[in-house]
Amino acid sequence: MKSALKWDVIAKCGTTKARAAVLTLPHGPVNAPVFMPVGTQGTLKGITPEQIEGLGCQIMLNNTYHLGLRPGQELLDTCGGAHVFQGWNRNLLTDSGGFQMVSLLKLAEITEKGVQFESPHDGSLMLLTPEHSMSLQNSIGADIMMQLDDVVSSLTTGPRVEEAMWRSIRWLDRCIKAHKKPESQNLFAIIQGGLDPAMRKQCIEEMVKRDTPGYAIGGLSGGEEKDKFWRVVSQCTDLMPREKPIYCMGVGYAEDLVVCVALGVDMFDCVFPTRTARFGNALTATGTLSLRQAKYKDDFRPIEEGCDCIACKSYTRAYLYTIVTKETVGCHLISIHNTAYQLRLMRQVRESIIEDRFPQFIHKFFKDLFVEKSAYPEWAVNALKSVNVDLIQGEEQP
């Protein structure tokens, strides 16, 4: 099908499956691997668009389901789409609303036709079909739009997983057919198939035939065992076309990002950095600081030495301790810091790939975060071993 993007791989890691690329979208270039912050309702949790730009963010997420409820399609059409609506002139990616099948399961009913949601606002019913999702996403005008998929929790087993996989393929066909602006918006297919390698394989084979501009690995990050998670990711990146961007949905913990990049993933999104910020948790290279704790009361250091975000440049942990979870500004500042942290991490990953020292970066990253090798998560050690990086035996090179 038609594509409105350009995918230029500029460097490949000599050891792992990692690669650095430039993804050129209608609203400008995106340096991959990339972490995309999530602004579900057309705003990134109190951070102004100018501040997000200042952090070097090139692409942000919105959610179709939420924007479809509010402000609604009519208003989006009137103002000319979500970019204009939220004053954001860089790239947007919209999730189709499929994930809400899982997160709002109690409010959703799934049939071949589509998903019926009960609005949490007023109890009214909304039927999200592939056609409706496409129509909404065309109104939103996102640079990348996701197909409506039949998402089942990654903990589900049995025939429901296979049903969801085949339905996702059928829905992809309906999405492609309903997509009105393939020349200015990119539709990504979402690989389903649970934790079953055979089903994943089948799904990829079918979806690759549809030749969408990019592919996402869906149905993960739902609390499944990490050891199964990485195997699915790795299998998918092996089978997916290498000349297109690969997006792993809902992944956002730092160690997950680093491992998945090594496994060949290019794009990520997660609400975690901004959500955890609202509870006063700040992310750093050496772990998370829970700034609500009284031990930070007399800690006059910045959150993270060397971080150039406004929170670190302006305030100490001691001051942040007094305002986190109490003042909105506390929220904003930690959200800004955490977003800055995620984006910086991806920039460092990317640079190390370009300079062909990604394995060394991985060693240092794990050492900084977990200190002791005994504390390294086993799944990460195994995953990295599969791409020739031995965290335990191998040594960090200067």
Binding site: K45, G46, E50, P71, C79, K313, T322, E327, C331, L333
Partner: protein, 636 residues
């Protein structure tokens, strides 16, 4: 040269006491310079406004390494930014510096929640540095000027302060310890503001009853007002504290008299106790007396040990007197006699409940008896027309609680002062929301109103604030953000309201310069009427959103509500601020939401019981079937 100077540039030539001036803080560059932090300020404060509208200069920022003294300026009439816990509500430091204010007001009572004065030994900063506000003039006071909170009565030794953990008593010693640690640019002397009188509930005339002293009612005043003795004591006590603080600032022992009194009291007690217990415990008694004497000597030596003066901190003094004119005059005159006082604060918050006219008259009484050459700050009169009236009486400084309150209500300012640069825009908006008072133009719009949902225009056409600039954010978007319970709503509204407030003051200053202040003031009131009283009511749309949120958080656990952590804690704060102020409508709606929740709970419980009942029934049937099966199986 003292660090703080106040220069009157122009005195209104007309009937009023309005004047234009500058409050300038000069300090050696080394005292506060911090390269890192001041660079932040430079980059963000440079772009403030196109005109000379925001007059607050930031020229001091660049001088981290040259030896020029740092100058920070607030042009008057002007404002200190109101803060909560040392931060301007909703605004991160970069956005905060776009508003065009040169000063910050920090309330010690809010910081005391987290930082006990005992913990100041390790304190490595000035408060300015801790809050990253070195480019601003920082004024520290005990109380929050944005509101009036009733607290238990103060005593000669302490003022009462409400904290999360209950009421605490802050002594003068502790207060001085805090000031020495914080080293703000300006400090308001600890004062016995009458916060114990219940001004809004008649019939509870008390105040110092709990102090155990007789009260004499002021002739003709409502019984809710503090009695004359309480007022007198408030004035006396505050003057005594002021003298002690001024002594301490010079590095002198401020507590000689206190200790002498204490000793006398102890001696007296000792006397009585020893006469009472003369026969049996005399030996022990003399011994304890000796030890106490010794103790007193050592205590004296430690207390009298040379104290470091803190001349870098300028002093503002509260002028008190409540409703009693004579006492207001006495307080003003006596305070003014203290040459070391650099400026005055008149807090009208405790006068709440009286008519605006009464409050302004009492303000006038105070201001008329203060020296003209020193700056006067006013708390509690923040709506634009009240500010204008206060300026006409000779007030110079205010705080930004007004835009803060507008923002909390979801409102965006449309008012403007002077040569009507926003006038036409306002006129076009006339049909957009109900007209307050008899105004011909709206002073604000409420973004909760549904009619803004499809208005893809800025809050105010031509406004240079962060939210409106370049048409980046529209009314429709902010309406969406409010309804989606997203925190960016208050960020944008606060940016706009703060900017407009700052612009209002800039235009006022210009009009004083041009001699048009009186004329424009009159037309302002004509055009915009007066601010309707803030009832604490929640907008209907907001009530719906909040009901839905509580429903959703019940549905999917506490996590989804996390979206609003900061916001709801803020709301929680202001709710507790104005207890009993909640309007009837919001109460009803809250009750309705509660009722729905209960209903749902009941329904869920019923469902659960039913399911469990079914399960039990099934199990029972199964057991019966099993037994039957057993029974029917012929025994071997």
């Amino acid at each position: 040269m003292p660090p703080l100077t106040f220069n009157i540039i122009r005195q209104s030539t007309q009937r009023t006491a309005a004047r234009r001036g500058t409050l300038v803080m000069t300090q050696a560059a080394t005292a506060t310079a911090n390269t890192n932090n001041s660079t932040i300020a430079v980059t963000t404060s440079a772009t403030t406004s196109s005109t000379n509208a925001n007059g607050n200069a930031h020229e001091h920022n660049h001088v981290a390494d040259n030896k020029e003294p740092i100058k920070r300026v607030i042009e008057t009439p002007g404002c200190f930014m109101h803060t909560v816990k040392g931060t301007v509500p909703h605004l991160t430091p970069d956005t905060m510096r776009l508003q065009g204010f040169g000063g910050v007001h920090v309330s010690i009572e809010q910081l005391l929640q987290d930082h006990q004065p005992g913990g100041f030994d390790k304190w490595p900063f000035t408060l300015s540095k801790f809050l990253n506000l070195q480019d601003m003039i920082l004024l520290c006071d005990l109380r929050d000027p944005s509101r009036y909170v009733k607290v238990p009565v103060n005593s000669d030794r302490y003022v009462a302060i409400k904290t999360h953990k209950g009421v605490r008593q802050l002594t003068l010693e502790e207060y001085l310890k805090i000031i020495r640690a914080y080293q703000p640019d300006i400090v308001a002397a600890m004062a016995d503001q009458i916060t114990d009188a219940d001004a809004s509930a008649p019939g509870t005339g008390r105040g110092s009853v709990s102090d155990g002293e007789a009260e004499a009612e002021v002739q003709g005043s409502p019984s809710s007002r503090p009695g004359l003795n309480r007022v007198k004591r408030s004035v006396d006590r505050s003057l005594r504290w002021l003298d002690q603080i001024l002594l301490d600032r010079q590095g002198m022992d401020a507590f000689v008299a206190d200790r002498a009194a204490e000793e006398a009291k102890r001696r007296k007690m000792k006397k009585t106790s020893s006469t009472q217990s003369h026969d049996s415990t005399q030996g022990v008694d003399t011994l304890t007396q000796e030890t106490q004497k010794l103790d007193l000597v050592t205590r004296n030596t430690t207390k009298v040990a040379p104290r470091i003066p803190w001349p870098g901190v300028s002093m503002f003094a509260h002028v008190l007197g409540s409703h009693v004119e004579q006492e207001r005059i006495r307080s003003a005159q006596e305070t003014a006699r203290r040459e070391a006082v650099d400026g005055f604060i008149v807090d009208t918050n405790p006068l709440q409940g009286s008519s605006k006219e009464t409050i302004l008259n009492l303000l006038k009484v105070s201001l008329d008896h203060l020296p003209a050459e020193k700056p006067r700050m006013v708390y509690g009169l923040q709506a634009p027309e009240d500010v204008l009236k206060s300026i006409a009486l000779g007030a110079d400084l205010f705080d930004t609680s007004y835009p803060f309150h507008l923002t909390a209500d979801g409102k965006a300012s449309l008012y403007s002062f002077g040569s009507n640069n926003n006038f036409n825009n306002s006129i076009t908006n006339i049909n957009n929301s109900p007209t307050p008072g008899e105004a011909t133009t709206n002073r604000w719009i409420n973004l909760w109103d549904d009619e803004h949902a499809n208005k893809f225009v800025p809050l105010l056409e031509g406004c240079g604030c962060y939210a409106c600039k370049g048409g980046r954010h529209t009314r429709a978007y902010i309406n969406h953000l409010l309804k989606a319970h997203e925190m960016l709503a208050t960020v944008l509204l606060m940016s706009h309201n703060m900017y407009q407030y700052s612009k209002f003051f800039a235009n006022v200053r210009q009009s004083i310069q041009d001699g048009t202040f009186e004329q424009y003031s009159a037309s302002f009131v004509e055009q915009f009427g007066s601010e309707p009283e803030r009832t604490g009511e929640i907008h209907a749309a907001q009530a719906i959103v909040e009901a839905a949120l509580s429903k959703r958080s019940r549905l999917d656990g506490s996590n989804s509500n996390s979206a609003s952590t900061g916001r709801s804690s803020r709301n929680g704060d202001s709710n507790s601020d104005c207890e009993g102020e909640q309007g009837a409508m919001s109460k009803e709606e809250k009750a309705e939401a509660r009722r729905k929740l209960k209903e749902q709970e009941r329904f869920e419980r019923r469902e659960r019981n039913r399911m469990e009942g079914l399960k039990r029934k099934k199990e029972k049937q199964q057991t019966i079937a099993n037994i039957r099966e057993l029974e029917e199986t012929p025994e071997p």
